[in-house]
Symmetry: C2
């Protein structure tokens, strides 16, 4: 029963597709969506493809690289809003909101986005879209390059914080909250004064996201102008 084991296996699953880069990435993405980040292990992907883990290493260098491809694959699900006739800031906000929602829908993707730089054309498209909006706003060269990085990191971090709070669900979070709220008012007056406000992030995610984006965009515009005027950025009082 061992000599023709492979043949039997093939016979029992004749429709089994041959392994490929695409198939592996798709399967990994499905697992990531269904079971979160811990569902996307080499072994589980292999099992889902009815093979052993070592088979994957022909098409993918390691887990990190697979993650990069999966992240990009996920970005392929992003539906770009119609930006015709929309001012650049609004357009940027719309596409980033769509991206944020995508990360919200698939928490595993949010975790990935924070620690992995995607590999593939879909991430290129998102970058290009952001850059072109920035360019329309007069933001170019270094400011644009650093800006797109800052913006993408911002979206990822908001998404990650969101799903992270959901996941460890009032577990760790409660004790951290407690330690902030029972802080010695003498030593930590500012923290004490803020009180609940420090944790208002989860309740008003929408407002907060918009605020952060506004901050970054306004900041880039402002800082860019300063740089154009003079090179030393330290501003003395008078």
């Amino acid at each position: 029963m061992n000599t023709n084991r492979t043949v039997v296996s093939r016979r029992s699953r004749p429709a089994k597709e041959p392994l490929s880069h695409e198939l592996i990435v798709q399967t990994a993405y499905r697992l990531l969506k269904d079971e979160g980040m811990s569902g996307m292990s080499m072994r589980k992907v292999a099992k889902a493809l009815d093979t052993g883990p070592s088979s994957l290493y022909v098409y993918v260098k390691n887990l990190q690289e697979l993650s990069a491809f999966v992240l990009d694959h996920g970005m392929g699900e992003l539906r770009y809003p119609d930006g015709a006739g929309v001012p650049w800031q609004e357009r940027l906000f719309d596409v980033l909101t769509a991206y944020l929602h995508l990360l919200f829908e698939h928490p595993g993707l949010a975790e990935l986005a924070l620690t992995t730089l995607p590999m593939g054309e879909h991430s290129l498209r998102l970058t290009e879209t952001i850059l072109s909006a920035l360019a329309e706003g007069g933001i170019r060269t270094t400011a644009a390059a650093w800006g797109v990085d800052l913006i993408l990191f911002y979206v990822s971090s908001v998404a990650f914080e969101h799903v992270s709070w959901k996941k460890q669900g009032t577990d760790q979070l409660a004790s951290i909250k407690a330690s902030y709220q029972s802080a010695d008012p003498a030593r930590y007056p500012q923290i004490t004064a803020l009180g609940e406000t420090l944790f208002s992030g989860d309740t008003s995610t929408q407002d907060r996201f918009r605020w952060g984006l506004q901050v970054i965009l306004q900041g880039i515009l402002q800082t860019q102008n300063e740089k154009g005027a003079e090179h030393h950025e330290r501003q003395n009082g008078s």
Copy 2:
């Protein structure tokens, strides 16, 4: 040889301190510093303390909680610059630069900072320091609460990106670079136009860090004023 095993063990290591929360955190932090994030596993910490992994669970709920304590412990090494007579923006920049350098020195800490919210008094102190600088700049309430979050996340992300690029050293990075630089100019004109500029982050870390901070601060000030105007309650003392 089994009946008095413990006694013998105690005799051979008479100076062995009893386990405690503090001792565990200190040991974990030392391992994190010496061997990076993968050096701080429950098993390795236990081995360093000459015990088994299960012993740690008396003082620490799980690895995530230990990480939160270790991160805070590391923040205790932050040396706060003397801020007397220094304008608030400069003061903020100085303390955040010190924090960034701390994260640079201990790459494991940077990895932790991105995915873990610290538990302990040292993180309280840093938050308080930032909040008080912001307050001096007229940034309060919601803007301050969201701002401190944004700022800390920014520092962590810069540090993480820095150590992350160092670690996977031109491995994945090279192919990502290549895919950006060989992007179809017709479809991705902005990316093509930027060229090398997109990857200028690692060479000019200092400038970039300062730029990002400037962006965030200017952005908060600007955005706050807008909101203040809407709500008819301007309170900036200019």
